[in-house]
Amino acid sequence: MPQANLSMSSVSRLMGTALSPAELEEILFRTKVEPVEVKDDELRVEVTHDRLDLLCESGIANLLHGLQRGKSLAPLPEPSPVRTPVEVRVDPATDPLRSHLRMVVAHAPGTSTLDVDLLSELIRFQEVLHTSLGFDRREGSLGIYPMKDLEPPFVYTMERIADIRFTPLPLDGTPSREVGGKEFFEGHPMALKYGGLGRQGESALTLRDHAGHLLSLPPTLNSARHGQVEPGESEILIESTGRNPRTVRDMVGYLLLPFAARGWTFSTVALHSPHEAEGGSPLELRRVEYSPAALEALLGRPVPTEVATKALASFGMKVHSGTPRSTALVPPWRPDILGEVDLAEEIMIHEGLSSFSAEENSHATRGRRLPFSRYCDRLTEVLLGMGYQEVHTPVLISERAALEFGLPESYLRISNPVSEDLGFVRTTLLPSLLGVLAANADFGYPQHIQEIAEVVVPDKASEIGSNTFLHLGAVYAGEGAGFATGMALAERLLRVIGMPGIKEPCELPGAIRGRSARIRLVGEPVAVVGEIHPEVLAAHKIPAPVCWVEFDLSLIWRLSGHT
């Protein structure tokens, strides 16, 4: 889950009070935040994927403030009086790369300006959003700019790299020099990491103002001349570009929270884009309707109007009560509030889960296992009675183990295994059972083990490219473990199954030639029996002869007239 390091003193300053680590832990347990570590001033938090707003100091302060004092720190964004309407034009040429763009201007309250606290929070939060929601800038990225030197309207377009002159924002405080676009894209560390997202062939994405000032090369880096924000600014341009309109909208929405928690107001930047209808505006407050009756039904207890209104208000929402449905206005940094059920959860968190008493289930339904499961259980019991110990093994096996018993095309293969040892999905239980024998080679003999578990067999005709079958596998290791022992066990199982099998010779990979057989029921191959080749046993360091029996229980169940 996403994590961030936050400054506790900054959280305290925003809340106007300080919490002890114990108090913090207790309150946060009621929420979707997990305090991973508190050390000196640093608070490391982990949050659920839906609450990225809590990955900044303002988000945590806003949450705690709401829970403790019943009031949100960050009011719903109000339209700010704007001297000159700001516009941005998106060139359709940006379509192949990242055609979606959203902008908002943030205005400092009264005579205050951007302080170090807010600036460092913005920089940290921006990076957290890049990594999480932005998928490392691929889906969306953010940029902030000082408005005072810029001349709207802005233009977001593609330009020839050869024509670009750019002074990169210094990464380590060292002043940078102006470079050509080619030099930047070929040598700058940020360009090497993200340049591919913002260039195509000989062209790259640019964001300029009306005067032709280059603000940034999205999503790679801001310009040092017109994209460097310093404390003392009173108007900040917030911009996001990306491939997904919703992501682009939400990234701006999240970044409004640190401003809103400090009383900043916002104004819209009019968008002229072929995609302006997609995704919505970050400042457009979403309206989520709900009915108190539905909340009550979901939570299982009465939710009076005033309780719902108070709870939602404490988390920064504004309620317009109505009958039969009310409406909640949701701030831009809460894109997780999609519908009525999300509001129910807000109320649940506000009231505290511990205040919800557990209720016994009241409906009468008949519980039962599947007949097939009961059938498998009976076979397990039969084998237990014969001294076969039950084992439990994983489904993924190594390539070496897989190819010992089958051709590559007979397996489903994992395209992204965690290791070479776990790259194939087994089609038989034998490799797993031999693994158990190998792990217990020092235990003493004879050893009898059994397992009823899944195997997966490729099947192009199937809806899911394969079939999952339940197999019964049993191996006997020790003196006298030969083909006849295996067949005797198979015959015993056939008697239990109650269906006569027809034996036929076959050659099974891993078995001694001439010492393996297939058993058919109603013409279908349902089982195999074999004496394992000593070469295989030696490879597994198993110092005893082994015979093996494997039944396809799924097929047998079907053949016996069940579905």
């Binding site: 994927h49 979403r286 999609l338 008493s357 289930n361 009468a364 039950e390 395209s415 235990f443």
Partner: protein, 500 residues
């Protein structure tokens, strides 16, 4: 041990050998007993050893060095030593070496050896011809005497005699070591030998004994009950699987019916139908196992379209309003066909709900799921989930909390505390934590109320509580397992040796 007991413990062969030892009351060698008892050497040897073990006979061991003629030695006894034959040839008068060799019929090696022996004994002179000086040199006489004595078994001398060593070196005599064992009846043996009876004794009672009735006229040989016996193991259910069965029984008792589903799923059933955004981080190759080179098929068109609408924020059906603004963007049916190892058993719930069960309904599924986790004490790439849904009029969050509380209590995992959580397909969502004695609080009971964006496209119109419990973690608490990997370790000693 009392004498009668000891007597009963003797086999017929042991009795016979004991009688032989008792008769002479002197030290006997094995061969003598073989001759007098009529038993085979192996039977006598075995019986003597057992009698000694039982304290009825004593043995004495003497290590002897034994000398015997080799084939060449036997030839020398018969034809004479080469040096004797040479001396005899030249006794009448001197001869050249060629003449001697022809007359004696010796090869070069034999001739050279004979010359060497006679020169060392100063018995010949070599000056163009060979001439005898002494007819019976003492060394030759000694050698001839030793060979004769060995040939007639009368040799009693010191086997390390220098002359004998020379014969051994010349390959005429073989020197071997031999242990001679003698046996004598012990005092205890003497006391029971006179009262031994010849009635048959039975060691292992056989079916043949039963069938013939021989056991009626036999005595049973008592065993040493302290002797080691074979190590026997038994088969038991796997501890963890057995615990799962208990959990299952609990759910069945609460009215849940079982469902099963495939391990390989399409993204549609594993994610899309669960309203998990198509760009959700948990859907990337960093988190799930994708199947190489294969693609699944699309679900029924109307279901796919409904799910697509929910994702895109459109009404799931023409007559309805949008359930929410969805995830925006464009839903990609191509991604829906991608195959993966299921990352949650909630895919089984989707398939179950698609069958439109009649409310109220309760379903559970216990099965493996797969996630690209780093292996450690708490994480495994394959683990089991206990999936469940409970749907019906008036089903709500408190029913889910009640179910989790009951589940934890009945499985003996102790206190549960709940924390809000997040799953894209449930809202509200909670996570129940239970306390592991070594690891601490572990999140094992995740669940919530299915979102309308999940239920409506599947045609479900009643509230549904759902959960996917990490049963392996719960089992770790209940069974005191410190490392999740132990569950797949299968050590036969502990699996088959648990106490009742």
């Amino acid at each position: 041990m009392a004498v009668p007991d000891l007597s009963l413990s003797l086999s017929p062969q042991e009795k016979r050998v004991l009688r032989e030892l008792g008769q002479g009351a002197r030290w006997l060698e094995e061969g003598e007993i073989v001759n007098t008892s009529g038993l085979s050497p192996e039977a006598v040897r075995g019986a003597l050893e057992r009698l000694k073990t039982k304290g009825l006979a004593n043995s004495s061991e003497k290590h002897e060095r034994h000398l015997e003629l080799t084939p060449r030695g036997k030839e020398a006894v018969e034809k004479g030593l080469p040096e004797r034959r040479l001396l005899t040839t030249i006794a009448p008068g001197p001869l050249t070496q060629s003449e001697v060799r022809i007359c004696c019929g010796m090869d070069d090696k034999e001739f050279a050896a004979a010359i060497g022996q006679l020169r060392r004994a100063s018995a010949i002179r070599i000056s163009g011809v060979l001439e005898a000086i002494v007819s019976d040199p003492p060394s030759l006489l000694e050698s001839e005497h030793l060979l004769q004595a060995l040939a007639h078994g009368t040799h009693k001398g010191d086997v390390s005699d220098a002359r004998m060593d020379e014969l051994v070196r010349r390959g005429l005599v073989d020197r071997t070591a031999q242990m001679r064992r003698s046996w004598h009846i012990s005092d205890q043996g003497s006391s029971i030998a006179p009262v031994l009876r010849d009635s048959a004794t039975i060691s292992a009672l056989t079916m043949a004994d039963m069938k013939s009735g021989a056991w009626r006229t036999s005595e049973f040989r008592p065993y040493d009950v302290r002797a080691p016996v074979p190590y026997v193991t038994g088969a038991r259910r796997h501890d963890y699987l057995s615990w799962l069965k208990e959990a299952e029984q609990l759910l069945i008792g609460l009215g849940f019916e079982e469902a099963r589903g495939p391990l390989v799923e399409t993204e549609f059933y594993n994610n899309d139908a669960l309203f998990i955004p198509q760009n959700h981080p948990a859907r990337t190759a960093q988190d799930v196992f994708l199947i190489e080179g294969a693609e699944g098929k699309e679900p029924p068109t109307e279901v796919l379209q409904s799910v697509r609408n929910a994702h895109e924020g459109k009404p799931p059906a023409p007559e309805e309003r949008a359930l929410s603004e969805g995830w925006g963007g464009t839903f990609d049916p191509g991604l829906s066909r991608r195959l993966l190892l299921r990352s949650q058993t909630t895919s089984v719930s989707v398939r179950y709900l698609l069958q439109r069960p009649t409310p109220p309904f309760r379903m559970y599924c216990i099965g493996s799921v797969f996630r690209r986790e780093s292996l450690d004490a708490r994480h495994h790439i394959q683990f089991d989930q206990c999936e469940g849904v409970y749907g019906g009029e008036n089903v709500n969050l408190r029913h889910l909390l009640g179910l989790f509380t009951t589940f934890a209590r009945e499985l003996g995992v102790g206190e549960v505390k709940f924390k809000p959580s997040y799953f894209p397909f449930t809202e509200p969502s909670v996570e129940g934590y239970v306390k592991h004695p070594a690891i601490g609080w572990m999140e094992v009971l995740p669940g919530g109320m299915f979102r309308p964006e999940v239920l409506r496209p599947l045609g479900i119109r009643v509230p549904v509580a759902a959960w996917g419990i990490g049963v392996m973690r719960l089992a770790m608490v209940a069974l005191g397992i410190d490392d999740i990997r132990e569950i797949y370790a299968n050590p036969l000693d502990t699996l088959s040796e648990a106490r009742a």
